[in-house]
C-alpha cells in the first residue's frame, strides 16, 4: 500500500516496545495503533489508541471484505482523529463497549466472533454515531484508489486510450 501520511511503517522492535494487544487484530501503544505483524501502524493524536483500534474493528464489521487489509479500514477512519471529532467518537465507542459488556463480552473487540459484534452493532444502527461512521465509510473505504484493484476495478482509462483496444468486449464465456 502507498503509505498515507499518518499510516506509518514501524519496525517490529519499535512496535513491541511499550505496546499491548487489543483483541486479536491490533496492538496499541502510546499514540499509535498497529497490526500485530507491524505491517501497518496509525498514529493517533486526539483519540485514545484503544478507541481508534475499536473504530477500525467497527469499520471492518460494518463493511467486511476479507481480502481487504486493516490498513485500508484504518485509512478510512483516520479522519476521526481530530479535535472536532474526538468527543463524539470517544462517546460513541464507549457506548459500543458498554453494549458489548451488556451482552456478556469484555469489550467490543473482546467479542471474538464477528456475529457477536454485528449483533452489538445492530442494536445501535439507528444511532447518529453509527450512521455517521457507516455513511463516511461509503466514500472513506470505497473511494480509496488503492482499494480499487482489490475489487478488480480499473479506475480512469482515458490516459490509456479507453478500452477500444483493451478488452471492452473480451468476455468469451457467454
Amino acid at each position: 500500500m502507498k503509505k498515507e501520511k499518518s499510516v506509518v511503517s514501524m519496525t517490529r522492535r519499535q512496535l513491541l516496545s511499550g505496546s499491548a494487544a487489543l483483541g486479536a487484530a491490533f496492538v496499541v501503544g502510546a499514540g499509535f495503533v498497529a497490526s500485530p505483524t507491524a505491517s501497518w501502524a496509525l498514529e493517533v493524536q486526539h483519540l485514545k489508541p484503544e478507541t481508534m483500534a475499536t473504530l477500525i474493528q467497527m469499520a471492518r464489521d460494518i463493511y467486511p471484505h476479507d481480502h481487504v487489509g486493516d490498513e485500508f479500514y484504518a485509512a478510512a477512519v483516520k479522519g476521526y482523529d481530530s479535535a472536532d471529532s474526538k468527543d463524539t467518537v470517544e462517546a460513541g465507542i464507549a457506548a459500543l463497549n458498554a453494549a458489548a459488556v451488556g451482552k456478556g463480552h469484555s469489550s467490543y473487540v473482546g467479542a471474538g466472533w464477528e456475529r457477536d459484534r454485528v449483533d452489538i452493532l445492530r442494536g445501535m444502527e439507528d444511532s447518529p454515531f453509527f450512521q455517521t461512521v457507516r455513511g463516511g465509510l461509503v466514500t472513506g473505504l470505497y473511494n480509496q484508489k488503492a482499494v480499487w484493484p482489490l475489487f478488480g476495478y480499473e479506475g480512469e482509462s482515458f490516459s490509456k486510450g479507453g478500452y477500444i483496444d483493451r478488452g471492452f468486449n473480451d468476455i468469451n464465456w457467454i
Partner: protein, 523 residues
C-alpha cells in the same frame, strides 16, 4: 448587433439555462440571426476538464445547491438533500447524460386517451402528436448524430451488453440492440468515435458524446449572435404593467445583482429550477408566481419509474469497460395492461464504478449481505429500468421558505409519492430484469432502488386548455405572451423513453416558432 450585448439591450432573447433545452434553443436562434443572451448558473467545463473519477466528477459537475424532499419515494430517505442527479454547468445535464436518444411511441403522445381513467393520475394528452414531431425528431437525431438513425451505424457491444443480449435472447425478447445513442459510432464525422472509455456520466473526454456544452453552445457563439454568461444565477423575471416580461435579475459570478433587459424570456432550468424561478418571481400583479393562474406551476412532477438490476456471475464481466449505456431491450415498452399496469418501460444496460456501486447498490445497507455483493464487483453486469410514471397533481415542486440558498432565495422542496401504477411497473421490471440475468446463469441478482432523479419532467406542463397546464403547444406560457418554457418541465406526460431527444426536438421546433413570431412582429 453582435455579442456581447448591452444589459439595456431590450432586443435580445434571454435564455435561462444551457442544457438540452436552453443550449439547443440558444444555438438554433443564433443560427437564425436572433440575438441571444444565455444565462447559466454553472461554470464552463470542456472535455479536457472532465475527470475519469466518479466522486471527483460529481463534485465538479453536479448541482449541489440545497434542496429538500418529502413523500414516500425512497430517494427522500436515501438522499434527502439530493432529489436529483443533474448538472450545474454550461451544457447542463447533457454533460452527464448517457446518450440514449429514443423517440416517443405514437400512443405516448395520447396517454389520457390510450390509458383511460387511472385513479389518482392527472393524465392528459399532449397538444402535439407523433406526426407533428416527426420532422423535428429527424433534425434532433441529425444534430446529435444518433446511432441507428440516418444511416449511422450502431455502436459495438461491450461486455455488459454481451451478457444482457444473451439473457434477453434466451428469455425470448426480440428487440435488443446497442441502442440509439448520441455517441459517434464512426470516424467519418467531425466527432471523435467512441473509444469505449467507460466514463460517459463523467463527461466524455473525447467529445464523442453529444453535449450542448461543447457542440451547440460553441456553434452558437461562432455566429456572433450568442453570448453565454456562465455563473449567472437568475433570481427573478421582471414584468411591466401590461403583464409582459421585460428582463431578468441575476447574480453574477461575484454575487452582484445584475439586470438584463429582454424582448423574450425562455426558461430552461430543469424541472426544479424552472418552476422555482416562476414562483420566486411573484409580484403584486402575479401573487402566485408568473404564469401560474392555473395553479399548475410546480405540479405533476414526474421522474420516470426507475430502478436497476445488478447480477453476479461465476466469471468476470468487467461491466465498467466501454459505453456506460451500451444496449437496450424495448420489448416491455409497449402499452399492455395485461401486465397489471398502463404504459411501458425500457431496459438499458448501465455500469457504475466501484465507488458509485458502493453508494447506490443498496443505500444504507451494511454487513456481509452487502459486502459479498461488492466482493463480486468484477463479475457484475447491470441494467437500468426506465418507464412511464403517472403524473399526479400532488407530486409537486414548491418553495421551501425555511431553507435559503447562498443568495437568500427560497430553495425547492420536491414532494413525490409513487403511484400504484409506478410500483406495479417497477415490480414487473425487477422480475424481468432478474430473469434476463438468471437466463444466462446469474448466481445472485439485486433489485436496486432508484437513484436520485436524472429525468425530471412536468412541473410546467404543456396543455391545450390553459386551465390544465402552464404552457401551450409551443412552450409559450398561457398567461404571458413573451415568456416561454424550453426544457423537460413542459412534458405533459413522461413516456417510457429517456427524455433528452424529445427536449432537443421541442427546442428546435420552438426556435423555429420564435423566429417566425419575431419576424411577423408578434413578439
Amino acid at each position: 448587433m453582435a455579442a456581447p450585448f448591452d444589459k439595456n439591450d431590450d432586443s435580445v432573447v434571454v435564455v435561462i439555462g444551457t442544457g438540452a433545452g436552453g443550449g439547443v434553443l440558444s444555438n438554433e436562434l443564433a443560427q437564425k440571426g436572433v440575438s441571444v443572451v444565455a444565462l447559466e448558473a454553472g461554470g464552463r467545463h470542456t472535455p479536457q476538464d472532465f475527470i475519469n473519477d466518479e466522486w471527483d466528477s460529481f463534485g465538479q459537475l453536479a448541482w449541489l445547491d440545497p434542496r429538500t424532499t418529502s413523500g414516500d419515494w425512497r430517494v427522500a430517505k436515501d438522499f434527502s438533500g439530493l432529489p436529483a442527479w443533474i448538472v450545474k454547468s454550461v451544457g447542463g445535464t447533457t454533460q452527464h447524460w448517457a446518450g440514449a436518444s429514443l423517440r416517443f411511441q405514437d400512443h405516448e403522445w395520447k396517454a389520457a386517451t390510450t390509458y383511460g381513467n387511472v385513479q389518482g393520475a392527472s393524465l392528459l394528452d399532449w397538444p402535439i402528436d407523433a406526426a407533428e414531431m416527426d420532422p423535428w425528431y429527424t433534425k434532433a437525431e441529425d444534430k446529435l448524430h444518433v446511432t441507428r438513425t440516418g444511416n449511422r451505424p450502431g455502436l459495438p457491444g461491450n461486455n455488459n451488453y454481451k451478457v444482457f443480449e444473451a439473457g434477453a435472447k434466451s428469455l425470448g425478447y426480440k428487440d435488443v440492440h446497442t441502442g440509439r445513442m448520441a455517441i459517434s459510432s464512426s470516424d467519418n464525422t467531425d466527432r471523435t468515435m467512441c473509444q469505449q472509455t467507460g466514463f460517459c456520466f463523467q463527461g466524455c473526454k473525447w467529445g464523442a458524446k453529444w453535449s450542448a456544452g461543447y457542440h451547440d453552445i460553441e456553434e452558437g457563439e461562432a455566429t456572433g449572435n450568442l453570448e453565454v454568461r456562465p455563473e449567472s444565477h437568475v433570481a427573478r423575471i421582471l414584468h411591466n404593467d401590461e403583464g409582459k416580461v421585460t428582463g431578468v435579475e441575476y447574480f453574477d459570478k461575484d454575487g452582484n445583482l445584475q439586470m438584463q433587459k429582454a424582448r423574450v424570456v425562455c426558461v430552461a432550468g430543469n424541472s426544479f429550477e424552472s418552476p422555482r424561478l416562476l414562483l420566486n418571481s411573484a409580484s403584486s400583479m402575479f401573487p402566485d408566481g408568473l404564469a401560474n393562474s392555473s395553479g399548475q406551476v410546480g405540479r405533476n412532477y414526474m421522474r420516470h419509474m426507475t430502478g436497476s438490476v445488478y447480477a453476479v456471475f461465476d466469471k468476470p464481466v468487467k461491466m465498467w469497460r466501454g459505453t456506460t449505456m451500451a444496449g437496450i431491450i424495448t420489448d416491455e415498452s409497449r402499452h399492455d395492461p395485461s401486465r397489471g399496469f398502463v404504459g411501458g418501460y425500457e431496459m438499458e444496460t448501465l455500469a457504475l464504478g466501484l465507488p458509485f456501486m458502493a453508494a447506490f447498490l443498496d443505500p444504507g445497507a451494511w454487513g456481509r449481505e452487502f459486502t459479498t455483493a461488492l466482493d463480486m464487483y468484477e463479475n457484475m453486469a447491470g441494467m437500468w429500468l426506465v418507464g412511464e410514471d403517472m403524473p399526479q397533481e400532488t407530486n409537486r415542486v414548491t418553495l421551501n421558505n425555511d431553507v435559503k440558498d447562498k443568495y437568500g432565495l427560497p430553495v425547492v422542496n420536491v414532494h413525490f409519492d409513487d403511484h400504484p401504477n409506478d410500483i406495479a411497473m417497477r415490480n414487473h421490471a425487477y422480475q424481468q430484469g432478474q430473469a434476463v440475468y438468471d437466463a444466462v446463469g446469474a448466481t445472485r441478482t439485486f433489485p436496486t432502488p432508484p437513484y436520485p432523479s436524472t429525468h425530471n419532467l412536468g412541473t410546467n406542463r404543456m396543455s391545450e386548455n390553459p386551465r390544465d397546464g402552464v404552457v401551450n403547444k409551443w412552450g409559450r406560457t398561457h398567461d404571458i405572451p413573451n415568456l416561454y418554457v424550453s426544457d423537460g418541465s413542459v412534458f405533459t406526460t413522461g413516456a417510457a423513453e429517456n427524455p433528452t431527444l424529445t427536449i432537443v426536438a421541442l427546442a428546435i421546433r420552438q426556435a423555429d416558432h420564435l423566429a417566425s413570431e419575431m419576424a411577423a412582429g408578434n413578439l
